[in-house]
Each structure stands twice: as C-alpha cells, then as structure tokens.
C-alpha cells in the first residue's frame, strides 16, 4: 500500500531499526554482565525475560512493514520467521520453567541477540545508503555459527518444555466446542521439530546463497566506485 519512500517512513524505520538493535544489545549486555558476575545459567531468564519479550515481540511490526510495502521483504518469509520466534518465546520458554532454567535457553537467546544486532544495524545503514564493512561482514558471517547454536538451542528448549506442556495441556484446546477447534500444542511442537529437519539446513544454505550474492554485489559496487 505504501511505497518505500512514503513521507516519514524513513525516519520511522531508522528509529525502529536502531531501537531494536539497542534492545537486543541490551539483552546481550544483561547476559554478559550476569556471567561476568559469575551468575549461573539457570538465573539468566529472570533477568532477561522482560527486555527479551519486548524486543522480540516488536518484530511483529516487521510483518506489517512487509505487508504495507514500506520494507521490501516477502511477507510470507517474514511472517514465518517472526512466528517461529514468537512461538518459541511465548509458547515454549514462557510457560516452562524446565526450559527457562536449561542452559540451552541461554545459548539460544544469546544466539538470537548476536544475530539480531548486526541485522538491524545492517538495515539501519542500508536505509542511509551504505553499510559499513563491520556490519556487512557480521551479518553475512556470524550466522554460520549462530544458526546452528540458535537452532539447537530452540530444539533443546522445546524438548525440555514438552513434558510440562503435554501434562498441563497449556494453550491447547479440546473438543467439543461450538467452532470445532482442536489444537494440541504438544502436537504442534512435534510438527515443528519435524520441520526443523529439512527446514534448518534449508535456511542455512539459503543464507549461504544470500552471502555469496551479497559479497558479489559489494565487490562489483566497489569496483565501479
């Protein structure tokens, strides 16, 4: 509906990207200082919970940006990415203390934050015209470690949370009801785990492809500059 250069969209997007980068940087800061003070992995969630919820849930706006056209991303991919993060955050981590206290949740949140800060800064500078080398290299290289650590973290959190989720039937809806809704969160999570099997390598190699194309483009741009 709105083209990229609609009035005030650029300042809004600049603000959005820098705020999200800042939010995720703050999450990293909390984790870093926690471990610096010799804190234990089980206690990370309590400290990081609120900023994490704010900054990750804010990503819903990225779907709106794609739908309205002020950002040139595919709605479907953005929707799936944001949905999967929100599902892990709110339907797995938030409900289960077993997942919250598992060291894998710290590895996962750290991976998310380490990927998101360069990503939002990359978009920020992209809006301004040119991305400094630092953020370009971080965005297209860190993922090679952070995708595996993030994804294994997510899988381990889901596995840790499943016993409680199955037993308590939290967020699940059973029949009979007027609109015939049957939703089993444990089932959804098993399905999610199954999707990771082809999905994770696909995402990884897709990003590798993006990296090659981005480096090629950057090299061409610098040659002609």
């Amino acid at each position: 509906f709105f083209p990229e250069n609609t009035f005030a969209m650029k300042p809004y997007l600049l603000l959005f990207n820098v705020a999200c980068a800042g939010g995720w940087a703050y999450v990293l800061f909390i984790i870093a200082t926690h471990f610096q003070a010799e804190g234990k992995p089980e206690d990370v969630w309590a400290k990081v919970e609120m900023p994490l919820k704010y900054v990750q849930t804010a990503a819903v706006l990225e779907v709106v940006h794609a739908m309205t056209g002020i950002v040139r991303s595919q709605v479907a991919t953005t929707f799936l990415q944001v949905l999967s993060r929100l599902a892990v955050l709110w339907a797995v981590l938030d409900v289960s203390t077993d997942a919250q206290q598992h060291w894998a949740s710290t590895m996962m949140v750290t991976s998310w934050a380490l990927v998101e800060v360069p990503r939002y800064m990359f978009y920020f500078f992209g809006l301004l015209g040119s991305v400094p080398g630092l953020f370009f290299h971080l965005r297209y290289n860190l993922f090679q470690i952070l995708y595996p650590t993030g994804i294994s973290g997510e899988i381990m959190c889901i596995l840790a949370a499943l016993p409680y989720i199955t037993e308590s039937q939290v967020y699940s809806v059973s029949m009979p009801n007027t609109h015939n809704l049957a939703f089993s969160l444990p089932m959804m999570l098993y399905l999610g785990l199954a999707v990771y099997v082809p999905g994770a390598p696909f995402l990884f190699f897709h990003m590798i492809g993006q990296k090659k194309r981005a480096y090629k483009k950057r090299a061409e741009k610098q040659k002609s500059a």
Partner: protein
C-alpha cells in the same frame, strides 16, 4: 560466460533448447530461459524471456548487433505443472478419507463405532467431492500454459493444502464434532456450496474453451456468465464455496483456510486483472470489471 553454439537463425526456439540441452546436460529445456542481448551480455531494452517453441529464432528477433546473442537464465529444477496440482489436491482428499475411518490412535479406542453427526458426514462428502472435482479438472478440464513450474512450488503448495487438510479433517471426523445449532443454516449453506461448485466448474470449462491448446499462453478476454462482472469468477465461486462450507460445518480452521485462500486468490485475481489491462488496454478497461468481487474489488 560466453558460448558459441553454431545454429542458423531459422532454427526454432524449441529446437535450440534441445541443442542447448545436448550440450549442457544439466539444463533440460523447461529450465531454460533466453533473452535477446548483444555480444557483451547486455540485454536489449525491455527484454523479455523468449517464448514460442515453434517460432524460429529469427522471427523472435535474433539478428545482428543489439540482438545477436541469447542470454541464458536458469529457472531451477522444474516439476510437471499438472503433477503439482495432482499431488497438492491428493493430500486433503486422502487425509479426510483416512480421518473418516476414525483410527483409534487418533480418536480413542471405540471412536469408529460411535455415531456420526449427519452434518459431519455431509462435511466429509462435500470435502471429498470438492477435491475429487479438482483432480478431475486437473486431468480433463484445465489447459495449462506451461508444461512445468519450479520444483519448490510442489513443496510450498503441498504444505499449504496438506496442512489445512490435516487440521480441518481432524475436527470434522471427531466423535465430538458439534454441528451448527440451526438446521436451516446447514441446509442453506449446503445448497449454496453445491451451486457455487457448479459455478466454479462452469467458469473452468469456459476458460478451457477459450484456450486453443495445452501449452498455449493465450488469454482472450472471457465474456458471459460471471465473467461480465469480474476478471476471475472462478475464484469468486471458489471462495464462496468455502464461505458456505464454513457456515455449514463451523470449523475454526476452516475459517482460517477460507480467509487465507481468499486473500491469495484475490492477489492472483488482481494480477490477472492487471494482465488483461496490459494486454488489451481500453478494450478491457471499458468493460469495467473488478478483479474478484463484483462491484467491489
């Protein structure tokens, strides 16, 4: 990379693609796409992928200077166009029939012997008829403009249809299925469903008769029936079917299916509408049609 493939310009595009395939075994003809360009690899202005396998390269514009070479693009792995349709519709058809057997591991030990709500039975019949009709149309009605589509679409489309088949079929065949309170609602919705299915079938047959042959990408402006009001009445009837089915069965995931499907079809309808405008200009514009919803949008 530049290659010299000696051919005379009165070779057809199809023959050229075969020759290209012989030399580059990886790229079978349906994966190949060519644009006219010069020897430096720059495309001609407004270059479009060449089409018309029976047309000679000379007639497609290959000559000297700015259009003296063919620039290759790989469409990626392909799958039969018709094949994608067959697979994607088979999922919903199969899953609901399997659910209808009420397997114990899904619904509990004596589920299969529990009575069926008549509306649930009706829902199973209508769903099965809908997808059986789709398979029938895939083999006997539709004339596709292309023999293949990207392989990725097979997975994307199948995931879409199969997932909805799974989440709608489960409550539909569940022993605790709850029919709408009003029998009249069910009857009207069922009647409407049948009428809209017929409307959709008629549109498909009319579209088939407009296209001269399988493989042709001709899109003459349709006329008559609901075509007089919208560019894609087949989508109009399709979404109306699902609205009716939703009222008939009151299944939450069916509401989602209706909304998501409707949105996607509306986007496609807008594209087709724009395509007609681009190809026919005023001749189409003066008809004052809407993309999918009569008088609205």
């Amino acid at each position: 990379k530049a290659y010299e493939i000696p051919v005379s310009a009165d070779v057809t595009l199809g023959e050229f693609k075969e020759a290209f395939h012989k030399q580059f075994r990886k790229y079978y003809p349906t994966r190949q796409s060519f644009k006219l360009g010069n020897r430096e690899g720059e495309p001609v202005p407004n270059a479009k992928a060449l089409s018309g396998d029976d047309t000679s390269l000379a007639d497609l514009g290959l000559g000297d200077g700015a259009a003296s070479s063919l620039l290759f693009k790989d469409y990626g792995p392909q799958f039969s166009y018709r094949g994608v349709f067959v697979v994607e519709y088979a999922g919903p058809l199969l899953f609901v029939l399997l659910y209808a057997m009420r397997p114990a591991f899904l619904y509990g030990p004596d589920a299969a012997s529990k009575p069926w709500d008549p509306v649930a039975k009706l829902g199973v019949w209508c769903w099965t008829a809908h997808f059986a009709k789709r398979e029938f149309e895939t083999f006997f009605v539709h004339r596709f403009s292309r023999p293949t589509m990207p392989l990725l679409n097979l997975f994307k489309n199948s995931i879409y249809y199969h997932t909805f088949g799974l989440v709608i079929g489960y409550p539909l065949c569940h022993p605790d299925f709850t029919a709408p309170a009003s029998e009249l609602q069910v009857q009207i919705a069922c009647g409407a469903f049948i009428l809209f299915e017929l409307g959709n079938l008629i549109c498909h047959i009319m579209l088939r008769n407009l296209r001269p042959a399988e493989g042709s990408s001709k899109r003459p402006i349709p006329s008559g029936f609901l075509f007089d009001l919208v560019a894609c009445p087949n989508y109009t009837f399709e979404i109306a079917c699902w609205v009716a089915y939703s009222f008939m069965t009151q299944i939450f995931f069916c509401y989602l299916f209706t909304i998501v499907g409707g949105l996607q079809m509306w986007i496609w309808a807008k594209g087709k509408h724009r395509g007609y405008i681009k190809t026919y200009g005023d001749e189409y514009k003066k008809l004052r049609r809407k993309p999918m919803i009569p008088f609205l949008c």
